[in-house]
């Protein structure tokens, strides 16, 4: 177990070059989440486009893990149907609770698989989960849910 297994290149890349990092106009839901231990912050905004697919905005400040996780999250769920986004979110949460023993599915998680090493560092799991918690909360506020009528087209 060493620090390189935590900081995989994909994570560093998302950290240095965050994808889709900006806020959107008139989100239907927004959530600001803070990690009280270290002060990491992330704001996630959601709305649905005309096809019922997710439009995501986000912003944040914090460590490489929380910020890269936000970037990966945005990449994975932007344009996805809420139900699909939920599948990804659940897979990510599960990965974080795997203690590093999981064999994550790249089909589902995309670049999210790079976070497998994070699960070995309990103090960093919260960082990685922060944007995903914000996503869930923002969706709840917007009334967007996986089982919701008309929102899932899959």
């Amino acid at each position: 177990m060493d620090v390189e297994s935590l900081y995989q290149d994909i994570i560093l890349d998302h950290y240095k070059h965050p994808r889709g990092r900006s806020l959107i106009d008139e989100p239907s839901g927004e959530s600001h989440q803070v990690n009280p231990t270290c002060g990491d912050e992330v704001t996630v905004q959601v709305s649905l486009d005309d096809d019922g697919r997710l439009v995501i905005g986000y912003e944040g400040q914090g460590c490489s893990i929380s910020q890269a996780s936000a970037s990966v999250m945005s990449e994975m769920v932007s344009g996805a149907a809420p139900a699909d986004a939920d599948t990804v979110r659940q897979a990510f949460v599960e990965l974080m609770h795997s203690k590093g023993a999981a064999d994550p599915d790249e089909e589902v998680l995309g670049d999210g698989i790079a976070f497998v090493g994070v699960a070995k560092y309990p103090a960093r799991i919260k960082c990685a989960l922060l944007p995903w918690m914000a996503l869930q909360d923002a969706e709840a506020k917007a009334g967007i849910g996986p089982d919701q009528e008309g929102t899932s087209t899959s």
């Binding site: 803070v34 009280p36 231990t37 270290c38 560092y121 309990p122 103090a123 960093r124």
Partner: protein
Amino acid sequence: MLLPLDVDRIRKDFPILQRTVRGEKPLVYLDSAATSQKPTSVLDAERAFYETANAGVHRGAHQLAEEATDAYESARRRIAGFVGAETDDIVFTKNATESLNLVAYAFSNATAKAAHGAEVDPRFVLAPGDSIVVTQMEHHANLVPWQEVCAKTGATLRWIGVSDDGRLELDDLDSLIDDTTRVVSVVHQSNILGTVNPVRRIMDRAHAVGALGVVDACQSIPHAPVDVSALGADLVGWSGHKMLGPTGIGMLWGRPEVLAAMPPFITGGSMIETVFMEHSTYAAPPKRFEAGSPMVAQAVGLAAAVDYLTELGMDRVEAHEHALTGYALERLADLRGVRIIGPMTNEDRGGAVSFVVEGLHPHDVGQFLDDRGVAVRVGHHCAWPTCRRFGVPATTRLSTYVYNDTSDIDVAIEGILAAQNFFGV
């Protein structure tokens, strides 16, 4: 008398029970209602924590901090499991007294904040005309905090009386707990009388009038299987040191919805969400109620204690003490001039047996027991109003645990006889 627990084997786990007192007399420890002794496994667990994992919990990003956090939270999980609770519904405090104060302060704090315009859960806001109900057999820890709440809010304290045989007088329960009642807080098992109270019935009445229900389980959880969520209460407090655990740790269990509605008590680090100079927001329970560096080693030690008790089997612990209590009651009843303060029968009764000896002050009785190596408690046992109820200034109390057997009671009985003899009463 064949007892459910193998006391000879158990005593080997408790180093202090190997010692002698008052000139080579074997220690006969009958004061477990005050505090219990600790098995080696508890001492080893605490020490191992300090020697391998000690660090600030929930705050550091280094390996020790991870291990310390893990030790602390795993302790919470095991302690929660021991009382049938969800992990996050257990708050660590320094003792049961703090747990009960935490609850009492929810009321006075909410009341004061509401008066200055804050939004608080109205269930915790009190005013003159409101009543708080306790019993006449409360430990001071479940009486004085409520007196204080009354002094700070104008609410009125009421109490359920105690009958001559040491039982709660529940006939007028429905008039005592009425529409004005906002909280009902009662002891599960009395530390002075030994009585086990029908808390479910009282909690149900509390809920029927919309009051919150609190149970002081200090003397029940160490001695019998207790599922906190089955007591019918909203909040339950107890201590670790009475159940083979270290000094300096207590617990509060709460229904999650109630804990979430409560304002914080002690505030500072670790219980916050965000802090600005002007204002702060608070973390969710249980952290909201655990400000400052917690009792980590103590939680770890207590978890080892519940493991030890679980291995013995709480059913057997209960049966063991029930048998011992029956034996003590019988032997005491046989003594001339001895009056038991509390139920004389062994039904709904725990192993704290209080008595007075005609013509002898409890202090003098205790002295004779001490002289024979018997450790008992004399005094009002932090239940002074209960003593007054029975017209005695104090009592002598025997209290048992897993390491006691009938021979311990026998030595105590001899001591009482010797005292009577010496004083010529």
